[in-house]
C-alpha cells in the first residue's frame, strides 16, 4: 500500500463528471511514477491487510453515518410536508413509511447488529443497513421532488446546486451502486446469512 504525492511527475488525473455535475471521483493514470520508500503504508507485501483494515474502518461506522444522514433528510422532508401538504393522505402514508423505516434502521444500528468480527471483514448484517438506507434515500428524495412540483426541477446553469432536493435526488441514484451494489449485497446475504447455494 503506497501513498502517492499527486503532484509527482507521471500522474494524470481526469475528473469524472457525474449526474449532479460534481466531480467526486476521477480516472487516474500512472506512468513510471517514482514513489519514495517512506511512502509505503505498513510493510511491503502486507498491503492487502492494510487495505482490508482501512475498509473495515470505513464500513464499521458507515451504517451509523448513513442512518444519521437519512435522519437529516427525513427531518428536512418533514418540514417540506408541513409547509406543503400536511393533510394529503397519500403524502401522510409515504411520510409514515419513511419515518418507520428510519426508526427501524436506527434501531438496527443501535443494538440489532453484531459488531464487526476480528477477521477484518464486516459482518454480512452490515449489508442490511446499506441496502435499506440506499433505497430509503432514493424514495425520500423522490418524495421531496414530488412535493415541490415544477419548482423542484429548476436549475440555473452555473448556480451551485449543493443542498437542493434536485441535487439530492440525482446523487441518490449512486446510492444503490457505490460501496457494494444492491445486487452484490443481496448476493452476500443470500449466501452468507440465508445459507443459499452460490449463484455462480
Amino acid at each position: 500500500m503506497l501513498a502517492l504525492d499527486m503532484r509527482a511527475p507521471g500522474i494524470v488525473v481526469r475528473p469524472v463528471r457525474q449526474l449532479t455535475g460534481e466531480h467526486e471521483f476521477a480516472e487516474v493514470f500512472l506512468t513510471d511514477v517514482r514513489v519514495p520508500e517512506a511512502c509505503a503504508i505498513g510493510a511491503v507485501g502486507d498491503g492487502w491487510r492494510v487495505a482490508m483494515v482501512t475498509l473495515l474502518h470505513e464500513r464499521g461506522t458507515l451504517g451509523v453515518a448513513l442512518t444519521a444522514s437519512l435522519q437529516r433528510q427525513v427531518g428536512r422532508l418533514l418540514e417540506l410536508v408541513r409547509a406543503a401538504r400536511p393533510d394529503d393522505p397519500r403524502i401522510r402514508e409515504r411520510l409514515a413509511r419513511e419515518w418507520i423505516e428510519l426508526r427501524a434502521l436506527r434501531l438496527a444500528n443501535e443494538r440489532g447488529l453484531e459488531p464487526p468480527g476480528e477477521t477484518g471483514v464486516p459482518g454480512p448484517e452490515w449489508s442490511l443497513v446499506k441496502l435499506r438506507w440506499s433505497e430509503a434515500n432514493q424514495r425520500v428524495t423522490r418524495m421531496a421532488l414530488d412535493l415541490l412540483g415544477p419548482e423542484g426541477v429548476r436549475h440555473d446553469a452555473g448556480r451551485d446546486a449543493t443542498g437542493t432536493w434536485l441535487r439530492e435526488r440525482l446523487r441518490s441514484r449512486a446510492n444503490t451502486i457505490e460501496a457494494g451494489t444492491s445486487e452484490v449485497l443481496r448476493a452476500i446475504v443470500a449466501e452468507r446469512v440465508l445459507g443459499l447455494p452460490r449463484s455462480r
Binding site: R92, A96, I100, G112, A190
Partner: protein, 354 residues
C-alpha cells in the same frame, strides 16, 4: 440480531414444547369445524408460566416484562398454535385490577378476550353495573371466554368484566384457529374493573399493548414462512441446481429477510417502550404493528412463490401461516396506524425523531 441469554432460553423452551406437542393430527383436530382451541395445550403452557408472563407473581404471572411476553407470542404464532394466547394477552392489562380474575387467566382455567370495537353503554342500578350494546371483531370469542369490555358510562369510559354472559356469535375466519366474534349485550350484569370516567389511560394502554402484541405475532409468522421458503429452495432442484442458486429466486427472499430483521428491532422497541411505562407506546406500537404485519404477509407471499405449486396447496403449513398473516393485517389495519404515525410525526411527537 443479538439476544440476551434469558430471552434465548425462554424462546427455546416455548419452541421445544410446541414442536413436541403440535403434531399435524393435533393441529388438524383444532381446525376441524366448528373450530376450537386446544385446551390441554393451553393449560400446559399456563402451568409453565407462559400465559401472562408479564403479570406479577401474586397474579399467577412470572413477574417478567412485555419484552418476554412478546417472545412467547412470537413463538406461539410461528407455530400457529391453536390457543387463545393473543386474545388473553389483550385482556391482561385490565385484569390487573381484579386479582381473582387475573389468576383464572394465568392458570389457563379461562381464556379471556378484549371487547373494544363497538358501542357499549354502562349504567348502574341498585348497586349493580349493567352493560348494553354491540361490538364486533372480537378475537377468540368462545362461549367460555371471559370478557374485558370497554364501555361508556355517564362519567366517561370504564372497564368491565363479563363472565359467561351476552349473546355471542362466532364467525370463522381465514385462520381456522382464530375466530372473530360479535357480541350483543342487553342489560348484562358486569363487574367494574375501572369505574367510568377513570379508564382513559388504561384504554389507551390496552390499545398500545394490542399493537405490540399483533406485531410480535406477525414477526413469528413471517420468520417461520421465510424459514420454510429457505429450506425449500436449498433442496429443490431445477435445471441441475438448487433453485435457491438462481438470483431471481434468492434476492426476493433476501428482501423479505431484511424486512423481518428491521421488524424485529421495531417489535423489541415497542415492547420495551411499553415496559418503560412512559409515553410513546402508542406510536411505537403503531409503527411496529404497521411495519410487521405487512412484512409477515409479504414473507408468506414470497414463500408461496418460492415453493411454486406446493405453496398453494391446502396441506402445506404455509396455508396456516398465510391465514394468520391475513388475520393480523385485517385486525391491525396498518393504513390507519400509519396515518396515526404521520399525525404524531407532523405534530412533533414522533417518539425519537428528535
Amino acid at each position: 440480531v443479538s439476544e440476551d441469554a434469558d430471552v434465548r432460553e425462554l424462546r427455546a423452551g416455548v419452541r421445544e414444547l410446541l414442536s413436541a406437542r403440535l403434531v399435524p393430527e393435533r393441529l388438524a383436530r383444532a381446525e376441524a369445524p366448528p373450530g376450537g382451541w386446544d385446551a390441554p395445550l393451553w393449560r400446559e403452557l399456563a402451568s409453565l408460566g407462559m400465559v401472562g408472563a408479564s403479570l406479577p407473581e401474586d397474579l399467577g404471572g412470572a413477574g417478567l416484562g412485555f419484552r418476554e411476553e412478546a417472545i412467547v407470542l412470537e413463538e406461539l404464532a410461528a407455530a400457529v398454535a391453536p390457543v387463545p394466547g393473543l386474545a388473553t394477552h389483550l385482556a391482561l392489562p385490565a385484569l390487573r385490577a381484579a386479582p381473582d380474575l387475573a389468576r383464572t387467566a394465568t392458570s389457563g382455567e379461562r381464556p379471556w378476550t378484549l371487547v373494544r370495537r363497538g358501542t357499549v353503554e354502562a349504567s348502574q342500578r341498585h348497586g349493580t353495573w349493567r352493560l348494553s350494546g354491540r361490538a364486533a371483531a372480537i378475537p377468540d370469542l368462545w362461549e367460555t371466554s371471559g370478557l374485558v369490555v370497554v364501555a361508556e358510562g355517564v362519567a366517561g369510559l370504564g372497564l368491565f368484566a363479563v363472565v359467561g354472559g351476552g349473546h355471542r356469535e362466532r364467525a370463522a375466519s381465514v385462520d381456522a384457529t382464530r375466530c372473530l366474534g360479535r357480541l350483543t349485550l342487553q342489560d348484562t350484569a358486569a363487574r367494574p374493573l375501572v369505574a367510568p370516567g377513570g379508564a382513559r389511560h388504561i384504554v389507551a394502554a390496552l390499545a398500545a399493548s394490542e399493537r405490540a402484541a399483533l406485531a410480535a405475532e406477525a414477526l413469528g409468522v413471517g420468520r417461520r414462512a421465510l424459514d420454510l421458503a429457505i429450506e425449500h429452495v436449498r433442496l429443490r432442484e431445477q435445471f441441475g441446481r438448487p433453485v435457491g442458486a438462481f438470483q431471481a429466486v434468492a434476492h426476493p427472499l433476501v428482501d423479505r429477510w431484511a424486512d423481518l430483521q428491521l421488524a424485529r428491532g421495531l417489535v423489541r422497541w415497542a415492547a420495551e417502550t411499553l415496559d418503560g411505562g412512559g409515553g410513546g407506546a402508542a406510536i411505537a406500537g403503531a409503527a411496529a404493528a404497521a411495519f410487521t404485519v405487512d412484512a409477515a404477509a409479504s414473507a408468506c407471499e414470497g414463500a408461496i412463490q418460492a415453493l411454486g405449486a406446493l405453496g398453494v396447496t391446502w396441506e402445506h403449513p404455509l396455508r396456516r401461516l398465510y391465514g394468520r398473516a391475513l388475520w393480523l393485517v385485517a385486525v391491525a389495519e396498518p393504513d390507519a396506524l400509519r396515518d396515526e404515525v404521520a399525525g404524531a410525526v407532523l405534530a412533533g411527537n414522533g417518539a425519537g425523531l428528535e
